[in-house]
């Protein structure tokens, strides 16, 4: 899967970064809103936004799936999907390129086992015009 596409805009402009995610076939990750309080949600957090402000996240619609190991259906993501992150270019942003950074935390399972929670780095390249 490729990198996150560069976002570009003038000062005060609204920009949207799309974070592409693919979960290996046969596995799923909990959605951002699991239906069970003990489950660990998929979550994006920002560590350095640079000249971007905001970063409101829009997660895809989760699938509600029933697994043999759970009494109730679970809210999960599987396959390929995108998370949209809405930013605004700061009013005082210097013109030029930059990088906004964050982390994606997830916890994956298949029908018979689960993996410990993991975190991957996110880098969003941007250009202030």
């Amino acid at each position: 899967m490729g990198a996150i596409g560069k976002v570009e805009g003038k000062r005060n402009a609204a920009v949207v970064a799309r974070i592409p995610v693919t979960v290996e076939a046969g596995y799923h990750v909990n959605s951002n809103s699991p239906l069970d309080e003990y489950l660990i949600p998929l979550k994006v957090s920002w560590t350095a936004k640079g000249s971007l402000v905001g970063g409101e996240l829009v997660y895809p619609k989760a699938s509600i799936e029933k697994y043999e190991f759970a009494d109730k259906p679970l809210s999960v993501f599987a396959g390929s999907f995108e998370i949209a992150a809405g930013f605004k270019v700061a009013a005082d942003a210097p013109a030029g390129p930059g990088i906004a950074a964050g982390k994606l935390t997830y916890q994956a399972c298949n029908a018979r086992m689960c993996f410990r929670p993991a975190t991957v780095d996110i880098s969003i390249p941007y250009q202030v015009d």
Partner: protein, 197 residues
């Protein structure tokens, strides 16, 4: 962004042993296809971890008992499916020298685990594990990972991932068979004749 890569660890109960059949004095036959032969078992690494009451629990404290050592977590659905089985196994076999010992891999420790234990009415001991514990047991990258440990503290079988209840029960039952009773099924020499030599 990097692709989310879920480690593709194969689900398999390690099939390490030959097909073993034990016959107990009650004539019940237990087949456990996956137990290692005693001579090929390795000693389970010892550890010292705290239980819910803050007491130190060492695996070596359980020497002489058959132990089901379960690496699990509250967020692990397949682990949660097995827990009622383990509760029942603990209740049924405690007096026969069997103990379940759960090692929780929850990052938030007792904050998450204690409410869960109360909710599930867990009747066996739980400790909070850590990376070091996982490391000495081969990494424990996926949960549940369940070790059946014999009375001598040796690993008889490892089940990685959700395993059938019957497979676990059969393994426990086989390990609980007293050596002396198993020996009764073999040739027994009269003690007197042995002493006369």
């Amino acid at each position: 962004m990097r692709r989310l890569s879920v480690p593709a660890i194969l689900f398999c109960a390690l099939t390490l042993g030959s097909f073993l059949v034990y016959r107990s004095s009650s004539t019940r036959t237990v087949k456990a296809e996956s137990l290692r032969p005693p001579g090929e078992r390795k000693l389970a690494p010892d550890f010292a971890l705290k239980d819910a009451d803050g007491r130190t629990v060492r695996l070596s404290d359980y020497r002489g008992k058959v132990v089901l050592l379960d690496f699990w977590a509250t967020w692990c659905g397949p682990c949660r499916m097995e827990i009622p089985w383990f509760i029942e196994m603990q209740r049924e076999n405690r007096d026969r020298g069997f103990e379940v010992l759960g090692v929780s891999m929850d990052d938030h420790g007792w904050e998450d685990v204690k409410p869960f234990l109360q909710e599930m009415k867990v009747n066996y001991r739980i400790v909070i594990g850590n990376d070091q514990t996982a490391e000495i047991y081969g990494g424990v990258e996926s949960l549940p990972t369940t070790f059946l440990i014999d009375r001598e503290g040796r690993i008889a079988v490892v089940h990685v991932g959700l395993t059938s209840r019957k497979d676990i029960q059969d393994g426990v039952e086989q390990l609980l068979q007293p050596e002396s009773k198993a020996a009764l099924d073999r040739t027994l020499l009269p003690a007197a004749s042995v002493r006369s030599r």
